[in-house]
Symmetry: C2
């Protein structure tokens, strides 16, 4: 209406973004084609010009999430070469990503998103593993450089790393933003990194 006609790629991206944001505000149950369309500023049936059906659209959201996660890895790797620094920064970028996109955690946790779609469930799994593998790489690098202790496996460390933010993120979103994730992340990182440093 206000925007006129747009390329299908632009629309696909708009739709995925709108959907992710609606998942954050209304949950997966509240994610209807009608609502997405309203948010994008088009009519429900127009969604089908850009996606075969709702399923295909949900897959697009997944792709979007994967991209955002891996972008963060790239960013920190370009900002610094120091593994511990990379981790600290990644932590903060992750907090930012989660804060700006609450839908991500919901998708990962919900059975709704994957139920009856083992293929999609597998993709969610792959996305997480892929992200963790990248964190692993940073850790291994740190271990090789003698900056991170070598008596813990990288996989354990990277999962614990995610664990710094995860529960805090829950509190943050359940408390309607009252809980201060960033502050917790900083404090927890202080303890965690201290624990990681090779003595």
């Amino acid at each position: 209406m206000s925007t006129g006609k747009l390329d299908t790629e632009v629309r696909q991206s708009q739709i995925a973004q709108a959907a992710l944001s609606l998942i954050a505000s209304h949950g997966l149950k509240g994610l209807s084609i009608a609502r997405i369309a309203r948010k994008v500023g088009i009519v429900p049936s127009a969604i089908y010009r850009h996606f075969k059906n709702k399923e295909e659209m949900l897959d697009a959201i997944l792709h979007h999430i994967q991209k955002r996660l891996l972008d963060n890895i790239d960013i920190v790797c370009n900002e610094t070469l120091e593994p511990l620094d990379q981790l600290r920064r990644l932590l903060m970028y992750h907090v930012k990503l989660i804060r700006e996109n609450q839908g991500i955690l919901r998708i990962i946790f919900s059975e709704d998103f994957c139920h009856g779609h083992p293929k999609r469930k597998g993709r969610v799994y792959d996305i997480i593993l892929n992200y963790l593998n990248n964190v692993d790489k940073i850790i291994i690098q740190g271990q090789q450089e003698g900056k991170i202790r070598r008596d813990i496996g990288p996989a354990t460390i990277s999962l614990m790393f995610l664990g710094i933010i995860q529960p805090a993120a829950i509190l943050w979103h359940i408390s309607d933003g009252k809980f201060d994730v960033t502050r917790h992340a900083e404090k927890a990182w202080k303890t965690f990194s201290e624990c990681l440093i090779m003595k």
Copy 2:
């Protein structure tokens, strides 16, 4: 049908249990009155003999969860008086609880469950805070006894404590049980507790 008529308290309990189990297997979106009724063995409209509406029934589930969480605290406090031991055991009981009741994490993360019901959202928040407060108490006890370092706040520690399991639990349930949560919990606990001990 097969069971005949039952007391409303019995039915309420049956219904809540069926609902929680359906959330685990079909997600919140798949949690319909019809499905619950079928699982319990009655007709959809019969649900309304025992709950005013669906909302009231969801509240019953919350109560059930809260009880299970606090039960674990009681159990570990009765099993041992050693704070670090209590934490380790709590970790394992928590893993067990999450494993047996995947629905719990889903409820906590889903906006569906609380959307448009600030009161219920507040209750979920309270349940978590309450649980964390109990973990805090254990930690404070440990700090007073000189067994846990005092330079980190108990609240930070208790959240990090939950963080040991959270991401692993996600992997476990997304991987259809392939990921070994217990193993990760043990390894992570080793590192974490070492980091907690007062030097």
